[in-house]
Amino acid sequence: MTLVLTAMNACCLFAWWGFNLWVPAYLALPSARGGIGLAPHAMTAIIVFMQVGMWVGYVTFGVVSDRWGASARMWRT
């Protein structure tokens, strides 16, 4: 069980960090360098909006975990 959960977390974190490391750069870089060239304020607005969703997810699934158990939270996530 520990190995399965470790592997699951590793895959999850691989995706999370891969995505979050590059999203700001992708939004800010000009199109000639592979980005979409947003202004800093527009990039900030998108990042902040994403974090609102992330915050809600963290708090909600903490409550789900206490109510229905950690495994239920895992499958819903």
């Binding site: 979050n20 999203v23 592979g34 900030t44 990042i47 902040v48 963290y58 975990s65």
Partner: protein, 201 residues
């Protein structure tokens, strides 16, 4: 709870500053995408090592002390990133920052786990981890305010501010009861205790 949440939030704040200034950093330090990505990877590898090392430190010297040390490390080396002029310098500072970042994850989680009852632990850990999102959003706001005026180096210099939180932690945050009891049990037991008292009866 507040100390661990602050540690988590400021950890996210400092770590994500790199992603947020990456576009400017790549231009100024002439970094390729592979080099920029590898800096992210080595930070995370260092965080894994930091988690292991600070896990041991947290068991031996206490959760709060380990938390304070890790916050101090990632705050100082985030500011140091602002002084980097080459890939190698930046890599060294990111590795050292990563050690503190991993340490904060280990010590913050154990601090919260030991101070909250079983039935509320999921909520408590969820709430603590939710500060990661707040820190990331805060970092994005700081980048929007500081970078157009002062450049990416000053964005990293702002990252030293979490170091001041350790002053508050030192004054107000106590070690969890579970850890104190474990320390007392360890002091009372162990190999040396075999030789205490009357050896011959």
């Amino acid at each position: 709870m507040l100390a661990a949440s602050l540690g988590w939030m400021l950890d996210s704040f400092d770590v994500m500053l790199y992603s947020l200034v990456l576009a400017s950093l790549m231009v100024e330090l002439h970094l390729s995408k592979a080099a920029a990505g590898s800096l992210g990877s080595i930070t995370l590898l260092a965080a894994a090592v930091g988690g292991l090392v600070f896990g041991v430190i947290a068991d031996r010297f206490g959760r709060t002390r380990a938390l304070m040390a890790s916050v101090l490390i990632y705050a100082v080396f985030t500011a140091a990133c602002g002084l980097a002029h080459s890939f190698v310098q930046l890599a060294v500072f990111r590795v050292l920052l990563g050690l503190g970042m991993g340490g904060e994850w280990a010590s913050g989680a154990s601090l919260v786990s030991e101070t909250w009852p079983d039935e509320h632990r999921g909520k408590a850990l969820g709430l603590m981890q939710s500060s990661w999102a707040i820190g990331y959003a805060l970092a994005a706001v700081v980048v929007a305010l500081v970078m157009p005026r002062a450049g990416w180096r000053w964005v990293f210099f702002v990252g030293v501010l979490p170091a001041f939180v350790t002053l508050w932690m030192r004054r107000t945050v106590e070690e969890p009861k579970a850890w104190r009891e474990a320390q007392t049990a360890r002091a009372g037991g162990g190999f040396r205790s075999l030789f205490r008292g009357r050896l011959l009866a």
